[in-house]
């Protein structure tokens, strides 16, 4: 980013920076808008611009604590490790999933499964960080998570809606997420206390007129100050304030009472279901990334009872979400993902639980860019190891980015260091891509 970046500072980078600077210098003499447009161009590659035109979005259903692959996407009925549940045929020939997911079985044509994740980290903190960023921690670097990457790659700089919204469910899912070196500009709007984001509602102590008038006065002072000063700190400050009214208006997106009774009934009464409905409202309004965390999958005891309850919620809410997105013509632009920090052990412990397990587990990818009905990779008959098509967290991330039309090999530059969007050596899983 700095002119001193010599490693991967490609020629275009230099050109677009100069373009930005001169245009901004011109812009300050007249309109400020010219500045912001150029800033946008500077920040995003031409390819990312193309993607934005297509309005791709992502909803990540984060299964906090680690869902069992056996009771979801990779059942092993009749095996010692299989547990009590049966496998059922899905709408995709040859693909069977757990009987706890009957609604998704009927909708398998929308969804691809990856059954061969080996992510090697069975610790909640480390696993979460790995599956949030698609790579292991590195000294000296704070990596952005998937939401922040998508906010940057898919968002619009002057967007009237948030770029990245993260919905809480309960303590276990309450990892805020991080925009890392991309900075707070791409940090999630995190709903930690209730269903409405913080600071989007005007205080009762100020009238709407005063609220608007003082903002106009602030803009005037800001423009006066920005004259003859080229700085993307000042530019981003103005941009942030210009987005305020739009974000305040987006409060209604979080209000599901604006939906019909019938629609709310489709998603069901659970908090997770309601948050899925909010997620649909958000992506419909143009929010590029929404994370809905569903907690309590960490079933060290009573794994089967836990999954009977949680899978019912997941199966129902996810199906309703996919149906709704499809009916609105949004599914082909919206990628719906389910995974958490890891899967669960083949061994069933004395408390009828399954423990942390990262060596052979599953994720699902539905909608945008996916080859629906595809099932990639195999675990051995008891699910202890990956038998075929081993995939890393980086491979999963490369697949996600490719599905969204984002080049996984694209690089950011941090200091002098080039950082590819998906981890070094990772490759998209072509078999699940459309």
């Amino acid at each position: 980013m700095t002119p001193g970046s010599f490693f991967c500072g490609s020629a275009d980078h230099g050109v677009s920076r100069r373009g930005f600077l001169s245009a901004a210098a011109l812009g300050t003499a007249g309109t400020f808008a010219a500045d912001m447009t150029q800033l946008d161009v500077w920040r995003h590659s031409a390819w990312a611009e193309d993607v934005k035109k297509k309005d791709k979005r992502v909803i990540l259903l984060w299964l906090a604590g680690g869902a069992s692959q056996f009771e979801t996407w990779d059942p092993k009925p009749g095996r010692p490790t299989g547990g009590p549940f049966r496998a059922i045929q899905t709408a995709s020939s040859g693909v069977q999933i757990s009987e706890l997911m009957p609604k998704m079985a009927a909708r398998m044509q929308t969804t691809a499964i990856v059954r061969s994740l080996n992510t090697k980290n069975g610790d909640h903190g480390g696993g979460s960080s790995l599956m949030e960023t698609g790579r292991r921690k590195d000294p000296g670097i704070e990596y952005p998570d998937l939401g922040a990457l998508c906010a940057k790659e898919l968002g619009r700089i002057d967007s009237a809606v948030p770029d990245y919204v993260s919905l809480y469910s309960s303590t276990e899912g309450r990892r805020k997420g991080t925009s890392g070196f991309l900075g707070a500009r791409y940090a999630p709007m995190f709903l930690s206390e209730n269903m409405v984001p913080e600071n989007v509602r005007r205080l009762e102590t100020i009238s709407d007129i005063d609220h608007q008038d003082r903002a106009a006065l602030r803009d005037l002072l800001a423009k006066r100050f920005a004259q003859n000063r080229t700085s993307d700190v000042i530019g981003s400050h103005s941009n942030a304030y210009q987005r305020v009214r739009g974000l305040m208006a987006s409060e209604k997106l979080f209000d599901i009472t604006q939906e019909t009774e019938a629609m709310r009934a489709k998603y069901g009464p659970t908090q997770f279901g309601q948050q899925c409905l909010i997620a649909r409202r958000l992506v419909e309004a143009g929010v590029p990334f929404v994370k809905v965390a569903r907690a309590w999958w960490d079933s060290h005891g009573q794994n089967f009872e836990t999954h009977r309850e949680l899978c019912a919620d997941l199966d129902h809410s996810m199906s309703a979400l996919l149906d709704d997105l499809k009916e609105r013509g949004l599914l082909e632009h919206t990628l719906v993902l389910t995974f958490g920090e890891f899967g669960r052990t083949p061994q069933i412990n004395p408390s009828l639980g399954r423990d942390h397990f990262a060596a052979a587990w599953s994720a699902s990818l539905s909608g945008c860019g996916m080859h629906g009905g595809a099932c990639y990779g195999k675990t051995e008959p008891d699910g202890h190891t990956v038998a075929e098509g081993e995939a890393s967290a980086g491979d999963l991330f490369a697949t996600i980015l490719a599905a969204l039309g984002i080049d996984p090999l694209k690089e950011y530059t941090l200091g002098a260091r080039p950082i590819p969007l998906s981890d070094f050596g990772s490759k998209p899983i072509k078999e699940v891509l459309a």
Binding site: G4, P162, L203, V233, H237, V244
Partner: protein
Amino acid sequence: MRKTVRLSWTSLWLFSTCFAWLTSLSLAADLPPTDAPIEQVIDQFVNARLMTEKITPAPQADDHNLLRRLSLDLAGRIPTTAEAQAFAASTSPTKRVELVDRLLASPDFPLHQRNELDQLLLAHKPNDGEFRKYLLWATQQNRPWDAMFRDMLVGIETDENQKGALTFVKSRARELDDLTNDTASLFFGVNVSCAKCHDHPLATDWKQDHFYGMTAFFSRTYLTKKNLLAEKQVGEVKFSTKKDGQKQAAFLFLTGATISEPTVERTKEQLKEFDEVVKKQTQDDNASPPEKPGFSPREKLVEVALRAEDNRFFARNCVNRIWAQFFSRGIVDPVDQMHSANAPSHPELLDWLTRDLVAHGYDMKRLIRGIVLSQTYSRSSEWTAGELPSAALYAVAKVKPLTPRQYALSLFIAAINPTQWLAADQPDKWTQRREQLENEANGWANMFEVPGEGFQVAVDEALLFTNNKRIEDEFLRDSGDRLVGYLKTLSDDSAMIDAAFWSVNSRSPRDDERAALKEYLQKHAADRVVALRQIVWALLASPELRVSY
């Protein structure tokens, strides 16, 4: 495996190219004399390059701008109205030097410098009380940088002043990679984990020994159960190479200097006993404090890094990082990329400043004084001559985002009733007041982002300013201790607008700004206090208060 090898090779390449460039350090006679004032030498080299590039730099910043910049850079806050008006009114021909010396001697300076160093050195774990206490003690007495380095790496646990310094190592003791990389980056300007993803054509020229050599200095360091820093008696770093298979790392410094460990024959029983001791230390609350090993690799690292024939990384990095604190970029930039492929923008200047720093015992305050007295430092941030020249030329001042603490402190100062400030000639009371402010600002500072590379203001910040009740309660209330409370006692619009501008922006309003505020007051005449509150909000939420310019 492939990944591991690539990491090492490229890291090595960096080490080694650094080495090539830094050994060519010119201490030639053609540098300006040793006794030349720092500020003159800075201007001489920066201006020479501007001449070569045929660029006329921006004019010098005006008085109010310079005062504001100096206050933020040296005191960590905007000036008070009294300070701003006194400086504007002064006709002394040496008022700038007087101001700089006053600020450097003020209680503000060590507090601010403490905050800067805390952010730099412990960014991953800010606000550690012990470490901040140490840093304040060190900055209050202008402790030399080499002594601080020694305190932080091998300080004495039982020394009241030094024990906090060890937090630097302790907080990283469980992550050998972080400890190695952060030490190399922060003290020597070399990021060893960098270039992880690049196969550089030169990379194959170099060996892995350098990379693991640095790690070897730290590999015996561990923390006891009681959180005391300790070093094992023995321990080797082994690594795999493509060509030669497994190798043992030597204690190899960046300059190529190696430290040899005296050979001591150990029996199996002795080695087993060492293991037992470490085990006890790390598991037992009641274990006695660890014994110092006969050979301490960390101590050796400090020794080699500071000795005259090998101190070029350490000394240059100190100059470069202080320079970057004031100019937002290093003479070598990025600051952790000191190597031959990343030449300094002003190599002779870096050489001269490095020589000067070493000759004056790593006196950071002296270097800082020289930097802020230079014409290079005091240019305007406005550029009207077309395309903006490269930042490496220092033709125009860079707009810098305030750090969270600078911003929080400045908000408090801007929003307080300006007549309540103590006069500058009450230094004793000011110390107390400033420390109180520092504490008040803490909570607010946590709400803002620490600016990093390519920093952009987040929309959350704008939403916070716009709709959070705490902003209204803290900064916009009309009680007698706040700016709004003072402004409402002024019946004359012009005087009121002047007072608001001096408080927040440390200057008089320009004609168009005054007109805009007057118009606002007229339009909102129905409730003057409400109108004043909105005016103050608009000033506080403007970019002018958000940045140093």
